[in-house]
């Protein structure tokens, strides 16, 4: 049977397609003007920590202030991409959690509104941006998450320095995330830069030498904890609090060590989204997040980051910052260098064929 060439169909379809395309191409308003004025008495949080922590934080905020709070868990890369896409009409009011490097990058792209909370005065200058683009809510220290059973099988002792990590005995037995997606992995990369006196080339050289030992570069910075826990790798390079949390899930073989040369750390940030619809509530959220009460919630949901507010009680499961040698971590410089450095990492390290 002959198909039906319908002249009018085709004309109509073309017309429709053109109309749809025109509508799509049509003028998108880029100003959020006027719409941000009204505050609906709720706050929408882009949350960069674990689901449990995010849920606990928003629940307790609502309890404390009566302001409704919703959250979406997003990694720091995803958050910036979505803030960028929603520049004209942001769906989030607050960004809470995740290394401050990402906040710096977002701030540079004009995605955040500076806000200096009255409560920020209590927080050390090391842990906040002077202009108020972001304020630190917790500190996490990079460490080695070791599976002692696997290491015993491999007859390798737990690494205690960055050099130990290069041991041939650890071939394909180091878990590490990709610095493009993971704030954790970027913290590690920048720590190498700091350890090599700011020489990015030397830092990448170290990563190249580490490359044969890396199983795979995972998306999420928390994933290596799982890899180590299940014995997929002997060592995961992650924030020590994530290792402790995994330990608590029932993985008793895990131990934490720190590199002797000095290690990097993250400052988890909180910030206002530019053009936020509920900016008044958002400010209340930021104020609240900096209080000791809010910062003591973490340990109740197995998040053992160190609070930035000196008046907040520190869980005994948190790392003692005085016992670990830290590198001089310049968050602002790390944030600015992020794009170029991850690009170089990708070209020079991650795609190099394994030996």
């Amino acid at each position: 049977m002959a198909p039906l060439p319908h002249p009018r169909f085709r004309a109509m379809s073309i017309l429709l397609t053109v109309a749809a395309l025109a509508a799509a191409a049509g003028c998108a308003r880029s100003d959020a003007g006027g719409r941000g004025a009204k505050d609906a008495g709720k706050v929408v949080v882009a949350c960069g920590a674990t689901e449990e922590w995010c849920a606990a934080m928003t629940d307790r905020f609502t309890e404390a202030t009566g302001v409704e709070a919703e959250f979406v868990r997003l990694s720091s890369g995803e958050t910036v991409a979505r803030l960028q896409a929603g520049k004209a009409n942001p769906e989030f009011d607050v960004w809470h959690g995740g290394p401050a490097d990402g906040f710096v990058a977002a701030g540079e792209q004009g995605l955040l509104d500076p806000y200096v909370s009255a409560n920020a005065a209590a927080i050390s200058d090391r842990y906040k941006d002077p202009s108020g683009t972001w304020t630190g809510v917790y500190v996490g220290v990079l460490g080695f998450c070791n599976n002692s059973r696997i290491l015993a099988e491999k007859k390798v002792s737990a690494p205690r320095s960055w050099q130990d990590l290069l041991s041939p005995g650890l071939g394909k037995n180091v878990g590490l995330a990709h610095p493009s997606t993971s704030g954790t992995a970027y913290t590690m990369l920048w720590s190498q830069v700091a350890l090599h006196g700011g020489d990015a080339g030397a830092a990448l050289e170290y990563m190249r030498r580490l490359h044969p030992n890396v199983l795979q570069y995972s998306k999420s910075g928390i994933a290596p904890a799982q890899q180590a826990a299940r014995g997929e790798v002997g060592v995961g390079v992650i924030f020590s609090h994530d290792c402790v949390a995994t330990q608590e899930q029932g993985f008793k073989d895990l131990t934490v060590t720190f590199p002797a040369e000095g290690t990097g750390y993250e400052v988890g940030g909180v910030a206002l989204v530019r053009g936020a619809h509920n900016s008044t509530s958002a400010r209340r959220y930021v104020d609240w997040a900096l209080t000791p009460a809010a910062q003591e919630i973490g340990p109740s949901v197995k998040s053992y980051q160190v609070p930035t507010n000196p008046r907040a009680k520190v869980s005994e499961k948190s790392v003692d910052l005085r016992t670990v040698k830290l590198v001089d971590y310049d968050v602002a410089a790390a944030g600015r260098a992020k794009k170029d450095l991850t690009k170089r990492f990708d070209a020079e390290v991650a795609q190099a064929p394994k030996s």
Binding site: S30, E51, E70, F71, A350
Partner: protein
């Protein structure tokens, strides 16, 4: 949104006249066509255009030169193609094996095999990958625990294993309908002339099924290279274009690079699609003619046992993976602390997961009938109604699966995020994001539909190529309009394909992740993104519990769809000499 609404029933009585003139007055077809065009335009063409305008902007052009000169970029391209070919071949082979056992072997336990073959369609691939690592990985319960080897599952072999086992049901369901529709008269004739089973298989069944094999191969190929969750979970250092593009977006905020990678990813998909279509066009096998036909002779000799054993072996692997998911959801930490607990389920059903469960089910339930109907409708328009425009509509309809989900998601963000104005007049409010109408759920439904339509389109198209147009001509010569013919003759005849299309749409919507992960809003939570979040933070028990609940919902959906459509009717073999339909 008009395109979300099925076309209104068109006037069914059109004046019977001689054929050339009648066509131009067929209002029903016009409505169907307009609705279909609108759907593919809104669902994939517009977002893709938005994405392409980024990919082809001036700043993106140097990236192409970089790509062709960079050995690492070229290795990624090669990796992608190899993965697609292997997944397409293995998945189609497994699907064929199961369909063959189902339709041609006289063995016990076929119902069980059928259910096992359907299992993978209903679960997010991420669960399979995780379970595969737990069972067959370096420290796997089977590989390390039982066999004592340290099998490195990370990389190409693990990806092929997991993807083939996750995707083969598509091939299976398609070929099941196809093989049931295969006219046994040919086989009988060959048998009467003394051909052996193997000869029949090689010279009669295989050529007849060839177009049916090409369709699932194409589908698995493009799904294999577009898959995101598995390369992230166990790709090792085996990088593919989809994960590279995803990394560019989520890690480097570099939509330009992502668009470039996606464009390069599109080329093999499109090339394969066009090649397949050309090949299909040359060898159309009509086996449902409505003419007298014979009965199927099941294989009863010794040859059935090795074939069955192979199918059982594959089934055991599938069952072990899902068993791990189920057990993992009921134990504190599977393999480490095997204390039974219901705490994971409590969180999913009563706690944080409740909203996601409700929203996802609702949105998928809205998307499924629309996608199933449009898949079939477009297939019908393409194979029967259109001439030159057919290729374009078919192509546009397939875009939903040819385009990697992540890229489509970015296209949605770019196209539907902002409010659109002409002058001061709001013509199209934003559809994406928490501030959009209906909490951004409209965009998610649209994404579900767009990603599901190709399944119905493929299976519908394959079924239609087997359907003799004479049946429709007869109906139309008797005075029925096009739409009536479609409804009363075509749809009942290809009901198995419709069932496949609908079931697959629902499962695909419920388990889809790569597109909607970018569209999830605070007001509309989606199960799959919750799973990813749970798995990423190491809460495998919760992830497995989500998967189990999700599987239960999808299976319930299957049952409902089967109830409504009326099961996979075996109508071809009962075709009466007059060619009337059996129901």
């Amino acid at each position: 949104m008009t395109m979300l609404v099925p076309p209104p029933p068109a006037p069914v009585e059109t004046a019977p006249s001689n054929r050339p003139r009648r066509r131009s007055r067929d209002v029903g077809v016009t409505v169907a066509l307009v609705a279909s065009v609108l759907l593919v335009a809104v669902g994939s063409v517009v977002p893709l255009t938005a994405m392409l305008s980024t990919a082809l902007s001036g700043s993106a052009l140097p990236r192409y030169a970089q790509f062709v000169t960079s050995s690492t970029d070229l290795a990624i391209l090669r990796n992608t193609l190899v993965l697609g070919l292997l997944v397409g071949a293995c998945g189609t082979a497994i699907g064929f094996l199961f369909a063959f056992v189902q339709t041609r072997l006289a063995v016990p336990g076929k119902r069980i095999l059928h259910v096992v073959a359907l299992l993978p369609i209903v679960s997010p691939p991420f669960a399979v990958a995780t379970a595969a690592i737990v069972l067959y990985g370096r420290q796997g319960a089977v590989t390390h625990g039982l066999l004592g080897v340290e099998y490195d599952i990370y990389g190409l072999d693990g990806l092929v294993l997991v993807l083939s086992l996750s995707l083969f049901p598509v091939a299976y369901l398609g070929m099941l309908g196809m093989m049931r529709g295969l006219d046994p008269a040919m086989e009988e004739a060959a048998m009467n002339m003394g051909a052996s089973r193997w000869q029949i298989f090689r010279t009669v069944q295989l050529p007849l099924l060839a177009p049916g094999l090409a369709a699932p191969f194409l589908l698995l190929f493009v799904e294999g290279i577009a898959d995101l969750a598995n390369p992230l979970a166990l790709g090792g250092d085996y990088t593919v274009l989809a994960s590279r593009a995803y990394l560019a977006v989520t890690g480097e905020y570099d939509t330009t690079s992502a668009a470039v990678y996606s464009l390069i990813l599109l080329v093999p998909s499109v090339a394969l699609f066009l090649a397949q279509r050309y090949w299909l066009g040359r060898k159309i096998r009509t086996t449902i003619t409505g003419k007298p036909s014979g009965t199927v002779h099941l294989i009863t000799g010794w040859a059935r046992w090795p074939i069955l054993a192979l199918a059982v072996f594959v089934s055991l692997i599938v069952v072990s993976l899902y068993g791990t998911v189920l057990l993992g959801s009921l134990t504190r930490v599977f393999g480490v602390d095997n204390t039974l607990t219901l705490q994971h389920f409590r969180e999913v059903v009563l706690g944080a997961g409740r909203e996601a469960l409700r929203d996802t089910t609702l949105l998928a339930a809205v998307a499924t009938p629309v996608a199933g109907l449009f898949g079939l409708l477009i297939a019908w328009l393409v194979t029967r109604r259109l001439r030159r425009a057919a290729g374009w509509l078919d192509f546009a309809g397939t875009l939903g699966v040819a385009v990697p989900g992540t890229v489509l998601g970015i296209g949605y963000l770019l196209a539907y995020r902002p409010d659109r104005y002409v002058g001061d007049l709001l013509v199209l409010p934003g559809l994406v994001g928490g501030t959009a109408i209906a909490g951004g759920s409209l965009a998610i439904v649209l994404a579900y539909i767009t990603r599901s339509v190709p399944a119905g389109l493929r299976t519908g198209g394959a079924a239609l190529t087997q359907l003799d147009p004479g049946l429709e001509e007869a109906s139309m010569n008797l005075g029925a309009g096009s739409v009536r013919t479609f409804r009363r003759v075509v749809v009942p005849l290809i009901r198995p394909a419709l069932l496949t299309g609908l079931s697959y749409s629902f499962a695909r919507s419920m388990t889809s992740i790569s597109t909607v992960i970018l569209l999830v809003t605070p007001n509309t939570k989606i199960i799959t993104s919750q799973i990813l979040s749970a798995a990423n933070t190491g809460r495998y028990g919760v992830a497995f519990a989500y998967c189990t609940v999700l599987t239960a919902v999808v299976l319930a959906g299957f049952g409902l769809i089967r109830l409504l459509i009326g099961g996979a009717v075996v109508l071809h073999r009962t075709a009466a000499p007059t060619g009337r339909t059996p129901r």
